[in-house]
Assembly symmetry: C2
Homo-oligomer: 411 residues x 2
């Protein structure tokens, strides 16, 4: 099944620059797809440090188990990714396939297998043929190219309708560093985390513990603020690698070092940019929805309320139908299980207050709200009237397209 | 919008017998619907006791607030229900409408307003015109009839495509008592509780604390085991009233009295019967799905895992598409957050083991499973391999019909 490009896709794909210390290659491995690349190798400088965030699913894929164990070392020499087969729920054979692939990539690169990170996305429960990855590796080794970022973003796609890329630069002391990110995902998307693979590489020089602290924060305000269908993948993987190759960097050893403020902001931006692109490619999505909750007991409470709204099938179908059905937003606030004052609740859609102090807003005119609901970008703001906690999450509507993609075809 | 009868509806509606101590009447109030009754009055014997379970929504409707306060008294003389307007998020005017309606009904019946229970279902956020209910009450008073149960079940419907009724008899000592139940609900259905109104009346003589204990247990194994869309209503109300009028009953004062075993079983059955009818009328439902989880750390853990499967849009759309996509069941088990052993997980569909010990079952033949998935009644059994906890929940598939009902029209 080939899907048309999402109507919410960015007008243009951000083209990523070469970045010192990282080279990439893609190939068709024959695992599942015909006529497109489906395997990606990223080779990294020997000094590269790494941090990661992995799915909290209690039935994780073999590659997730592998990465979780390898992240403790904090060193990465390669990332090996395949699309079309998730190598999840594949029993002992699944881990054997990971080990074989990692060993083959390590031999090619000249590093330890424990420095090779592996990620797989696609169908669950089908054994992954590691032989096909092994067979593709020599060609990948020959093709490694510092400029192949855009091809890399395309090779990791599954039901995605566009490749997801983002790039930023930042200053650390007097040095300029670059951050490049690629991601894939469009369904089975929910926090902790999106069904999602994302890889961010920078030429900054930062120890693994610093990367871990920065990535944890960046993930919380990006991927963990998105949802498409509330479903959590077995395979979610976000990796941040730092090659250290940008010239003239000061030595930074703490995530709270003030010289990292710009880098942290760039990392926050790049992860948010990628996370929002994933939502914009939500399966069947016709509308991109921003839900801002304020006045909650805490930021965490605000996020839970926002996600209850974002995951409500009744809210999502109302948005699909361009129906300013704020009663369903009240329902979702009520079911979130977080403190809210029904009689101080305030709801605005497209900047227009529709409900206030426990009832419809006085003199409420639906006309501008109905116009807003017909657009592609929907803004919902809810103040729950009990405190100062706030959060913003991003989601999409629930459409016939979602049912078609997930119900009408075997995926 | 008038919807065709659900393909999952029972072949025939159970016709309810008259029951001593309860009389009913319905009318068209003009609140919302044309050409059908939309208001129901149940008048109850002066000795009637009552227990109830109400939505845990933190943004409950005015009638829910009213009932919660009144249930403490344990006495009921009337139940007044309207369909078409939920009287939820209607501010202070909402509670005023409840008070006016209850006072008018109390004057009609000759009881205190605090003995009148009120329930409303329908659109949220639109002020309820209590004048229309007051205007309907005299006619309702004249029409009260012990045999009007079937009309009562029809009058409380909103997007329901069939009325939901159930009846049982039980022995308490040497006396035979009758239980009649009616319910409505088809969307915004999730535990705690279904978007759902249900009223069970019996001629047994039982003190309110006994009713409370029995109803709590009955609700846990019925309405709290069902989900259509994971959304929780502002208005869920389940009431159990006992008129005490059946002849020859022994005096029973404890819910654990062994003479109540038959009554408790009948109450469990009637609530489960009604709950399953609500799921069978799930908006757009084409398939009725039973999910049985075993081998969990506790019964509560099993229920959370079963509900994670039942609420997963990816599982529900796969079922809609008759796709035996057990990988999505693995995903849902993983996201439930409860202890499960991926490498001991066992999944059966339609009685055929599809996955075993962390991988596809040896020699798995999809043919009989594909046949099962094409039917109306889908059985999924999951053993998570860590303990002895078990639970069964009921749900339906997620179809284009759901999107059409909730997205294509203002509801």
């Amino acid at each position: 099944m080939s899907l048309p490009r999402s109507p919410l896709a960015p007008a243009a794909t951000q083209s990523l620059p070469a970045l010192d210390g990282a080279s990439l290659a893609t190939a068709n491995s024959g695992i599942r797809y015909k006529g497109r690349d489906d395997v990606l190798l990223i080779a990294l400088d020997p000094a590269t440090t790494v941090a990661g965030v992995l799915t909290r699913s209690l039935a994780p894929s073999a590659p997730v188990d592998w990465c979780r164990a390898r992240l403790k070392g904090g060193k990465a020499r390669a990332i090996l990714v395949n699309a079309g087969n998730a190598n999840a729920f594949t029993g002992k054979a699944g881990m054997q396939a990971v080990k074989r692939s990692a060993a083959a990539a390590a031999a090619l690169i000249g590093c330890k297998a424990s420095e090779v990170f592996v990620a797989s996305t696609g169908v669950i429960g089908v054994p992954l043929d590691a032989g096909k990855i092994e067979a593709a590796l020599p060609g990948l080794g020959r093709a490694l190219d510092a400029g192949a970022w855009d091809k890399a973003a395309a090779a990791i796609m599954t039901t995605d309708t566009f490749p997801k890329t983002a790039t930023r630069t930042a200053r650390i002391g007097n040095a300029t560093v670059t951050l490049n990110g690629i991601a894939k995902g469009s369904g089975m998307i929910a926090p902790d985390m999106a069904t999602m693979l994302a890889f961010v590489v920078t030429d900054a020089a930062l120890p693994a513990p610093v990367l871990r602290a920065l990535l944890k924060r960046a993930n919380e305000q990006s991927f963990n603020c998105t949802t498409v269908d509330g479903d959590t993948s077995t395979s979610d993987t976000l990796l941040l690698c730092a090659t250290g190759r940008a010239a003239g960097q000061p030595r930074v050893t703490s995530a709270s070092d003030r010289r990292l403020a710009g880098f942290a902001r760039a990392l926050d931006e790049i992860t948010r940019d990628l996370a929002i692109q994933v939502v914009r490619d939500g399966e069947g999505a016709e509308k991109f929805v921003t839900i801002a909750v304020t006045g909650a007991a805490s930021d965490a409470a605000a996020k839970r309320i926002a996600l209850a709204i974002a995951n409500s099938p009744l809210v999502k179908t109302a948005i699909a139908g361009a129906d300013a059905n704020w009663g369903r937003i009240v329902m979702a606030v009520g079911k979130a299980g977080e403190k809210a004052d029904r009689d101080r609740l305030r709801i605005a859609i497209g900047g227009v207050t529709v409900a206030l102090r426990g009832a419809v807003a006085p003199g409420y005119d639906e006309t501008p709200v109905a116009g807003h609901m017909k657009g592609r970008e929907i803004d919902i703001a809810v103040d729950v009237g009990v405190g100062r906690g706030r959060a913003t999450v991003w989601t999409c509507d629930l459409t016939h397209g979602y049912i078609r993609i997930n119900g009408d075809y075997r995926s």
